[in-house]
């Protein structure tokens, strides 16, 4: 029954997608819309094949993916231990709270000028944008997650001889992990926003650069292709992330 209804939903979704693309194609081919404003899906496909042939599409997609992953992983690796530490210490939370409160409302875009001044149009500058855009919100997610731990479990661990450090590693980290991962999934989306905006402003490769470059040459199909590629890449990474999540949380199965 379950399999049947899932298959049914999937069929409906595929049909709906085909109708959407079909209508789009039809409207464009009948000349209702100026191709400069909105090219037909077939035009985007032609452009995709051309860019795959000369290797450009792969280069841009990989460049953006690499930047997101490096920035995101570094940011998570700092934010997870730091967040757990802050979440379990009232004193240090009070110390860092004003700084975090100041950083949090800053959109990643606002860091772009400063990062360009400091680091130039380099890869490090791209990583730093992803880092600055995702670090403060990740940290807040993680601090919140540590607060959701059942205090009884901390008590039980202490009663069994766990030190405060043991409690962080053995109780707070695994206990908060489901919420941490849920938070990081949202953050991964934000990391993509960061990198695309950084590439739109200043870059020599990447999907953001490809979109901006397409606009410069009035290649609307390239612009749309870039946008489609962002969607597809984020979806693929999301699937990979979900596999990874199941492996990390065997007890929730």
């Amino acid at each position: 029954m379950k399999v049947d209804s899932t298959a049914k939903s999937l069929t409906i979704s595929i049909i709906s997608l085909l109708i959407f693309i079909g209508t789009w194609e039809l409207v464009c081919s009948m000349g209702f819309i100026e191709p400069l404003f909105m090219p037909a899906p077939s035009k985007i496909l032609t452009r995709a094949i051309k860019l795959i042939d000369n290797g450009q599409l792969v280069v841009h997609t990989l460049a953006s993916t690499r930047r997101v992953m490096v920035g995101f992983i570094v940011s998570s690796m700092v934010a997870i231990p730091f967040g757990i530490f802050l979440g379990s210490s009232r004193f240090f939370m009070a110390v860092f709270d004003p700084l975090i409160s100041l950083l949090r409302p800053l959109p990643s875009m606002s860091w772009i000028p400063l990062s360009l001044l400091w680091l130039g149009i380099t890869e490090t500058q791209k990583y730093s944008i992803v880092f600055m855009g995702s670090f403060a919100p990740s940290l807040l997610y993680i601090i919140e997650a540590t607060k959701g731990i059942d205090p009884l479990l901390i008590r039980a661990a202490r009663n069994l001889g766990a030190s405060k450090l043991d409690v962080m590693r053995e109780v707070i980290l695994p206990g908060a992990l489901p919420q941490i991962i849920a938070g990081l999934k949202v953050m991964l989306g934000i990391a993509w926003t960061c990198i695309i905006s950084a590439e739109l402003v200043a870059a020599r490769e990447g999907l953001g650069f490809m979109i901006m470059n397409g606009k410069e040459y009035f290649q609307t199909d390239t612009v749309l292709l870039g946008m489609v590629m962002i969607s597809i890449t984020v979806m693929i990474i999301d699937v990979v992330f979900r596999k990874f999540e199941r492996r990390l949380l065997p007890w929730t199965r």
């Binding site: 009884l152 008590r155 109780v171």
Partner: protein, 267 residues
């Protein structure tokens, strides 16, 4: 190890505990003194809110008394101590650890070598009758099984004293009976000093070597009964006149305390 000043395993001396909150100060325990001997199975009975749990929390070092002191083997309890293994009503198992890993936890914290840990954990899992469930996660287990894991986890850590805070209150009657019998067998074999809290008079009579009835808040000791019922405390014992007599005595004492606490609440 006979540095025991007064010879008692646990000595609670003039302990008062007050909590101050937004709605004023509550005295949970007032000038409470009691001694627990080595190898004793002490059951404390009392109506809800009489400070039983507060008392256990003080013995385990989760909380410090406002006044008075608590000695374990003659040494003052100043912080959380693994020497007093606590069993919680809500089991408090780590959901992300398997049965095996839960039981190993205390030993892992002591940095005991892995092979020794595995061997000891296997032994205590067997004692509580959970052989074959080592790889299961807690959410796959029934309430009774969870509490058995919790008991194994505590025993494997080899505490001097076991503190049980209404451990079987959330279980159905049949499971409760099985676990009570299992606990008695474990007690007879390992001779740990046990402080067990309950609001069930039958449970107190079945398990204890001594029973204390606590007064309504502020908690003090209303009555002390040495439980001289013969072992094993099977159906015959439970139908004996001595059992009925003890039950009535405790019931009278508990009832008057319940009445008093209700008057306090309504008045």
């Amino acid at each position: 190890m006979d540095a025991v000043a007064n010879g008692h395993k646990i000595s609670i001396q003039g302990v008062t505990k007050t909590f101050s909150g937004k709605r004023g100060t509550v005295t949970a325990l007032k000038d409470l003194s009691l001694d627990v001997e080595d190898g004793e199975f002490l059951v404390i009975v009392g109506a809800s809110g009489c400070g039983k749990t507060t008392l256990l929390n003080l013995v385990a070092g989760f909380d410090a008394p406002t006044d008075g002191k608590i000695l374990l083997d003659g040494q003052a309890v100043t912080g959380i101590t693994p020497e007093c293994g606590m069993i919680f009503q809500q089991y408090a198992l780590f959901p992300w650890k398997t049965v095996q890993e839960n039981v190993e936890f205390g030993m892992k914290m002591k940095r005991m070598p892995k092979t020794e840990r595995l061997e000891r954990a296997a032994r205590f899992i067997d004692i509580v009758g959970l052989k074959g469930f080592e790889k299961n996660y807690p959410h796959h287990l029934s309430g009774g099984m969870k509490q058995r894991v919790s008991i194994a986890r505590s025993l494997a850590n080899n505490p001097k004293v076991m503190l049980l805070d209404e451990p079987f209150a959330a279980l159905d009657a049949m499971t409760r009976q099985v676990l009570q019998e299992q606990l008695v067998r474990i007690y007879e074999k390992h001779r740990k000093t046990i402080i067990f809290i309950t609001h069930s008079i039958d449970e107190a009579l079945l398990l204890s070597s001594r029973i204390l009835v606590m007064t309504a808040r502020p908690g003090r000791i209303a009555q002390e009964i040495v439980n001289d019922l013969p072992h094993p405390r099977n159906a015959d014992v439970q139908l004996s006149s001595r059992y009925m007599e003890l039950k009535r005595t405790i019931w009278d004492s508990v009832q008057s305390e319940v009445m008093k606490s209700m008057e306090v609440e309504t008045g």
